[in-house]
């Protein structure tokens, strides 16, 4: 059966009746030499009355031109060959979890031990070949977001070659349902579903028409569950917090920490017991504060190395520069005291500040790139009051996170509901915390990064309650989150980081790419001001700014992330088991194979060319 990718191209078949018309009305007379042409004078055609239809003669020219028109019409239509035959279609849901990269047996000698994934591919090869040489494969790598990594509907040998060249999967534990749903859609017009995993298929849920094959087997494994760099309690240096667990008889575990140059910073061998978690706090010298460090766990029996190591990048420094521009008094003191207690905050002058606390005088501007917090009683028609509530708190706003105001007396709440600017205009305030008709805290509408605290710390009890530092901490952390750059550098697989671009980076041209520094994977990112970055696999990843020009703010690499596998459910290989669950249904029907048919295109092109040449030959002058 032939179908066409471009049915409009079949309009070219109108050339067939056109050729017939031409031959009907423009008869090509074959030449004939005669003596006595003058005797035919009465019959000689003279084009006086236009063309007349003549008897259609079966000539080589007619047939060749019809054939050429037919071939060209079909060629323009983009012929595709489908055969309603028994070409088996196997849609494979291949387990994409990291445990598939575990070795199925201890290594023998210097040779790398086969992994569960290797066993799954061998199983797939066996099943595909058993179905015949024309078997077509579509392979879905399972995950929270399944993706097609082989096919769709391609010959099984080619798909298996591609799969063999792919790196081992590194996804955390996930459900197979999204992948099996996708597989069910792909076999809607024929085919079978095969789930290949290392998990016991009898404990999984899937439809009855799915074949599930597990190639897993219990294996010992040691898993690095937590690895965090954090400032040490001392004045200088960092501390590396490690937590790991051994599943099965892995033997003694050696913990090694190395710096960027490969120098060992820490090494200790620790006995392990199956299922026991071990924590280690490793001090890091100040010299490696700006370097990545590598943590590796080694054991005699460790089936999966991917979850036994981690690269930890220095956490991005994101200090918030704060300026307090308030008149001396209780309010200023209360703010300075609360800000001083917050980590990673730098006091600075107004011009360099990221966050400015100012009095409610008329504002010259909205603050530009820095944030403004207007602190003080907002002038209104009535006098400022002290209120003990009830307070209306917008808990969806991050500024009010953790704020309860229980037992607090909010002092000096003015009646103002808008902020006055120097040019006499007003900006209304969207309340975050309110009491009666008084807006106690809010955001200025129409001005990003401008907030209002309608408070006089000298009155009431707010400055003495826990809500005061919480409120100020929320402001500082909101400002910190809006600073350009990544908010974190070390992720567990499946986690995400937030990356904020500068205005220049945001408006730059060119692609913004998340790319693997250890592989070839590249993911195009939307150039948003703030993006959520979720590297899909284990390893080092970089956000690459294709529009960078090398000047200030134009560094090509905007962020770097280290992603590690730390999934205890995936790391526990002791529960893996092999097994096969065959479907109850009969063999599925084959699928309709759609072939772009380059051979047919070439055949039609050659046929059309041959017809043209033949027509030229047939009609050439004698």
């Amino acid at each position: 059966m032939i179908s066409f990718a471009n049915p409009w191209g079949l309009l070219g078949l109108l050339a067939v009746p056109a050729v017939l018309w031409l031959h009907l009305y423009r008869v090509r007379f074959p030449p004939m030499a005669v003596g006595g042409l003058f005797l035919w004078d009465d019959a000689i055609r003279r084009p006086a009355g236009g063309r007349t239809r003549d008897r259609l003669r079966s000539t080589a020219s007619l047939w060749l031109e019809l054939f050429a028109a037919l071939a060209l019409g079909l060629l323009l239509g983009g012929p595709r060959v489908s055969w309603e035959t028994t070409a088996p279609h196997l849609v494979v849901a291949l387990d994409g979890s990291a445990s598939m990269g575990a070795t199925a047996a201890p290594p023998a000698g210097d040779e790398a031990a086969p992994t569960f994934r290797d066993a799954a591919l061998a199983e797939l090869r066996e099943r595909a070949s058993a179905k015949g040489g024309r078997t077509l494969l579509t392979v879905i790598e399972t995950g929270d977001r399944p993706r097609v990594v082989g096919g769709p509907r391609r010959p099984w040998r080619a798909v298996l070659e591609e799969l063999a060249a792919r790196p081992a999967p590194t996804r955390p534990r996930h459900e197979f349902a999204p992948s099996l749903d996708l597989a069910a859609r792909l076999v809607a017009d024929g085919g079978e579903i095969l789930l290949l995993t290392d998990r016991d298929p009898r404990s999984l849920e899937f439809s009855e028409d799915t074949t599930a094959v597990s190639v897993g087997a219990p294996r010992p494994n040691v898993v690095l569950l937590a690895a965090d760099r954090r400032p040490s309690d001392g004045a200088a240096g960092e501390e590396l917090f490690l937590r790991w667990t051994a599943f099965g008889r892995v033997g003694p575990v050696t913990v090694t920490v190395r710096d960027d140059a490969g120098e060992s910073l820490f090494r200790r061998t620790i006995p392990s017991a199956s299922g026991e978690s071990v924590t280690n706090a490793v001090p890091l010298p100040p010299l490696v504060a700006n370097q990545p460090v590598t943590v590796r766990l080694t054991a005699a029996e460790d089936a999966l190395e991917a979850d036994s190591m981690a690269v930890l990048l220095p956490s991005p420094a994101r200090p918030v520069r704060v300026a307090v521009s308030l008149p001396p008094g209780r309010t200023r003191t209360a703010i300075e005291r609360a800000v001083a207690a917050l980590p990673n905050v730098i006091r600075t002058d107004l011009d360099a500040a990221d966050l400015r606390f100012v009095s409610p005088d008329p504002l010259a501007s909205d603050g530009g790139s820095s944030w403004l917090v207007v602190v003080g009683s907002l002038p209104g028609e009535g006098e400022a009051i002290d209120t003990a509530g009830p307070f209306l708190i917008d808990r969806a706003d991050p500024l009010a996170a953790g704020v309860s105001l229980a037992g607090a007396v909010w002092g000096g709440a003015g009646q103002g509901t808008a902020l006055t600017r120097e040019d006499g205009t007003f900006r209304p305030i969207s309340p975050v915390i309110a009491a009666g008709d008084r807006v106690l805290a809010g955001r200025v509408v129409g001005a990003d990064g401008v907030f209002v605290l309608n408070v006089d710390a000298a009155r009431g009890t707010l400055a003495n309650t826990p809500d005061w530092p919480i409120l100020l901490s929320n402001l500082v952390e909101a400002r910190r989150a809006a600073l350009p750059g990544p908010d974190r550098a070390n992720l567990r697989v499946g986690e995400s980081a937030r990356l904020t671009l500068t205005e220049r980076q945001h408006t730059a041209d060119g692609p913004l790419v998340l790319r693997s520094l250890e592989g070839s994977e590249r993911i195009e990112l939307p150039r948003e001001r703030t993006m959520i970055i979720a590297p899909p696999g284990v390893g080092l990843w970089s956000v690459w700014n294709g529009g960078a020009n090398g000047e200030d703010g134009g560094r090509p690499e905007l962020a770097r992330f280290a992603v590690r596998l730390a999934d205890p459910r995936e790391g526990d290989l002791t529960s893996l088991a092999s097994g096969v669950v065959e479907p109850d249904a009969e063999d599925a029907a084959g699928t309709t194979v759609d072939d772009p048919a380059p051979w047919l295109v070439a055949l039609l092109a050659v046929a059309a060319l041959a017809a043209f040449v033949g027509d030229w030959w047939a009609t050439r002058p004698a």
């Binding site: 008869v27 006595g36 005797l39 008897r55």
Partner: protein, 296 residues
């Protein structure tokens, strides 16, 4: 590497068995040769100097006095001469139209050349002095004619008709005797003037028209691009019933005109259509038309 095969002969007709057979069976018709010709095997019409006694008759002025039968004169006192048959050679000229239209059909071409060769050989077999003349503007008229084997090559390349040749003095000046003109006569002409010119200066003229089967009886083939190889002209013609009928009528008129003109000038005329073999054409057409006689 093998040698290239020899090129085939250009359709030789002079040694064709059919031609030889026809030449052995038939003779060209025509009056006996006049006296004064070269000595040959043919018996002359006048009292001659041959050895075969023919008759006695009265002396006529101009008779050779050496042939007076003096004994009879003495007995009868009437001058009587002895008449002997004079053995003379008759001039036979074969004029073959060399225009390109004669070669537009292979059968027509072959028939024309075969007939010319047969006529030449008939004359030679009868003791005549045959000459062959190819009539075209590319051949200078030569009273001595051309060799017979020139018929074995391509001969039809002329661009002019016999009318045009006659106007340009392109016809050969052959002697008296028999003249056989082979042509298709498919060119515009005045038949009376044409026949008069062709028969001028000869004792007996025979005009044989050669037509291809298409020219004689064109079928209704539909559209054709007819080309005239002589004039480099072409015309699209729809060979349908009316066109073919009109053509046949014009061809009939042409043939009838030629026949009438030949009768009025004492010439013989016959039309041959290519197709049957030469012997059959001679038997069925040329002998009944008086162009040939059966050799005894």
């Amino acid at each position: 590497m093998t040698a290239a095969p020899a090129l085939p002969a250009a359709d030789p007709v002079t040694t064709d068995p059919d031609v030889l057979a026809v030449a052995a069976r038939y003779t060209l018709s025509g009056p006996p040769p006049r006296a004064g010709g070269a000595v040959g095997e043919r018996v002359g019409r006048t009292a001659g100097s041959g050895l075969e006694f023919r008759e006695h008759r009265r002396y006529l002025p101009g008779d050779d006095v050496r042939h007076l039968d003096w004994a009879a004169f003495a007995r009868t006192d009437v001058p009587i001469v002895q008449v002997f048959r004079e053995e003379v050679a008759r001039d036979t000229a074969v004029w073959l139209d060399g225009s390109a239209s004669m070669g537009c059909d292979p059968e027509k071409s072959r028939l024309a050349r075969s007939l010319a060769a047969a006529c030449w050989r008939m004359a030679a077999a009868s003791g005549d002095r045959p000459t062959l003349h190819l009539l075209s503007e590319t051949n200078r008229p030569d009273p001595r004619g051309r060799s017979l084997d020139s018929l074995d090559g391509p001969v039809f390349s002329g661009r002019g008709s016999l009318v045009e040749l006659a106007a340009q003095h392109g016809l050969p000046a052959t002697g008296r005797g028999v003249r056989v003109i082979v042509s298709d006569f498919l060119f515009p002409h005045d038949p009376d003037a044409l026949v008069r010119r062709l028969a001028r200066g000869t004792d007996a003229a025979t005009l044989i028209q050669i037509l291809s089967s298409f020219e004689a009886d064109p079928p209704e083939l539909g559209g054709r691009r007819l080309t005239d190889p002589e004039a480099d002209e072409a015309a699209e013609v729809t060979l349908d019933r009316p066109a073919v009928a009109a053509y046949r009528a014009r061809l009939r008129a042409l043939i009838d005109g030629l026949a009438r003109a030949c009768r009025s000038h004492g010439a013989t005329f016959a039309t041959l259509v290519a197709g049957p073999n030469l012997n059959e054409l001679c038997r069925s057409t040329l002998v009944p038309a008086g162009a040939l006689g059966v050799r005894r």
